[in-house]
């Protein structure tokens, strides 16, 4: 009964939304400010990828907020799950009950550096090709995820993660603040724009995107590490309950 009402109500909402969106023609050009972005990201900023120019410069403030959301998520995860460090190191061998196969481990030895290199390539070329700090950061985090899953002894020093995370965050906000100290505005470009499609072009944009790349990689690795350590906590609990029974 409840489900039927929900389905009818949602069908109504869906139809209503569809009717509204059907009024918006598909594939039509309705750019307004976007026209300006497209014209000026190569001209004024020397950035080939217009999405990068918007994400990092025109609407860079959103991106600062977005990085903050990820930072918040990793902090929140820590505060919600109460990671217990000492247990973590003592029981880290419990993360995977079965060791990954030899093939996986050997493949990992060759693959992981390549994955990390690919990630770095993606965020260094963020202003030229598709992808950038976020995508590159995620790719690097996937590399660390592989390590965490394949090698049961592999642990990530949490201090390093915090250090990279903080440093990258300060770099992002700091580059923004330099703009103010130079008498310009927050996050304004203060370096020469350079030639379009050169690696060294786009002023501060590649710098910020590299900082974002490091930050995202560190944050996501931290999140994955925290999430994967849930199982350690659970196993710890099981062991505790078993020893209680035995006593």
């Amino acid at each position: 009964m409840k489900k039927a009402i929900a389905i009818i109500l949602l069908a109504f909402i869906a139809v209503e939304l569809f009717v509204v969106f059907y009024k918006i023609p598909f594939g039509a050009d309705r750019m307004n400010v976007a026209r300006f972005y497209l014209e000026n990201s190569p001209k004024k900023l020397g950035v080939a990828n217009a999405v990068t120019a918007i994400v990092v410069n025109f609407r860079g403030f959103d991106t600062l907020g977005e990085v903050t959301v990820l930072f918040l998520a990793s902090t929140a995860l820590g505060s919600i799950l109460f990671r217990r460090r000492e247990i973590h190191t003592r029981l880290s061998h419990l993360r995977t009950s079965v060791e990954a196969s030899v093939i996986v481990r050997i493949a990992g030895r060759f693959l992981v550096p390549l994955i990390i290199l690919l990630g770095a390539y993606v965020f260094i070329h963020g202003h030229l090709t598709p992808g950038g700090g976020f995508q590159g950061g995620v790719i690097i985090a996937t590399g660390f995820l592989f390590l965490l899953l394949a090698y049961r002894k592999f642990t990530i020093e949490h201090r390093t993660i915090t250090f990279v995370e903080s440093l990258a965050g300060i770099t992002f906000a700091g580059i923004g603040l330099i703009g103010i100290f130079l008498g310009k505005t927050f996050l304004e470009n203060f370096l020469p724009a350079g030639k379009l499609n050169d690696l060294l072009s786009g002023g501060i944009i590649p710098l910020i995107y590299i900082a974002i790349g490091f930050k995202v990689a560190a944050e996501l690795t931290g999140i994955l590490d925290t999430v994967l350590s849930i199982s350690i906590d659970v196993k710890q609990k099981e062991i505790e309950s078993q020893t209680e029974k035995n006593e």
Partner: protein, 498 residues
Amino acid sequence: MVATNHILVTPIYFIALPLFFAFLLPLLGKIYKSFIRIVPGLMFAYLAWMAVVLLLYVYKTGNPVIVKIAGWAPPIGIDLVFDQFTGFIATVIAILGFLVWMYSYLFKKVEFDNALKYFLLLMLIYAGSIGVVITGDLFNQFVFLEITGISAYALTAFYRGRDGAEAAFKYLLIGSFASTFVLLGILLIYTQLGTLNMADIARNIDKMDPTIKVIAFILLFTGFGIEAEMFPLNGWAPDAYSQSPGPIGAVFASMTSKAGLYALIRLSFTIFDFSSANELLFIMGILTLVFAEGIALRQEKIKRMLAYSSIGQIGLIMIAFSFNTYLGVFAGIFLMLNHALVKSLLFFSASFLAYNSPHKYIKDIQGFARYMPVTALMFGIGVFAIIGFPPFSGFWSKFYLLSAMAEKNFVILIILVLSVSLIELVYYFRVLHKLYFAEPTGEYQPHTPRWNAMLAMVLLALIIIAIGVYPDLVTGFIGKAAHAIMDKTTYINSVFSI
């Protein structure tokens, strides 16, 4: 000078500094542990001072301070608007942020790791709330709303108790609904106008297809309404208020709900031009008020009671704004100020009362006034102020509200507001009676506030009394703020004149 870009005083610092120090704090903590408490405090103090300076500047010159970001003038880039209205609310939030920090400086459960997270989250929820208020861009407002939301979820689940996670999950669910609605609304506006800047949208709103305009308005109104604790989507609020650490109740009342309300008001007053928006605001306000005060009467736990009373105040504020007259808006802003100050004082003092009662029930606080006279006195001042007795600030806010109603000849509404005040009187005095006149059940060694919490509460009480005795302290600012929010053209022109 419309746009200031002073190196020491610029609205951008309200967001840039908390984020910068939030990223820096884990490193600072490694150098010297107490930095994690001191550095946020210095920052909050600086920002509160800066807010006052900026507000005085705006008040004296009459020019809003508008900064562009990344060097692009709106609508190309994102802009921050610190005008008489947003500036006033931002200043209130900034001052309360400093007081909340002072209150939690020696917060009891603070061990290193937890303290780090607590102050991080406090800084980020502060940056998010001020960001929602001063940003001039709709999508940017969404991002700040998300920052506020996620820090609020984390703070709700901050304690290990079993109910915190439940409250946080509930909050997260409804908050995700809100963000989906807001996103869809932003998308609809973008497809029609191709811009995300609020002033640009307001300028071109006539160009929107009428149906799409209505749907976009409803989506955004619902989304922001959830954050503002509007009926019927406020089921999360009492749980979140009562499960979070003591001072965070004050943060929710004075910062996050103010940010949501601001977004709602900006939406109805500036961005859209519906005359029926005021009626919608009015109806939702009445429903929120009646529903919340009715439930507050039946609450057994002190923090839940305060939470429902807080929702009721939000309803009153919505009603005041819905009149769309100068006096009504004036009363609304005064109510916002009063609510932020008084609810913070109530939550500050009540969290000590609740902390010492084992199950947080009102009946457990019998005779606590003997053991913690100052806290009880502070709670008493808060109660008198929120009901609207002179000489507290609440008196003036209710006075202006009633005169706004009288001006419009809303006799029934006047009766409603007076009877709501009576209901408030009943449930607050029940607590006061228990606090002062009931016999204590046994010997207590209560946990009493330390000097920092005491100082924060006394400062708040002094502000409340000062405004109550001498309302001209704030009426000038509030008057200009009311003019600023009602004057759509000036807002648009000043944004585009930089």
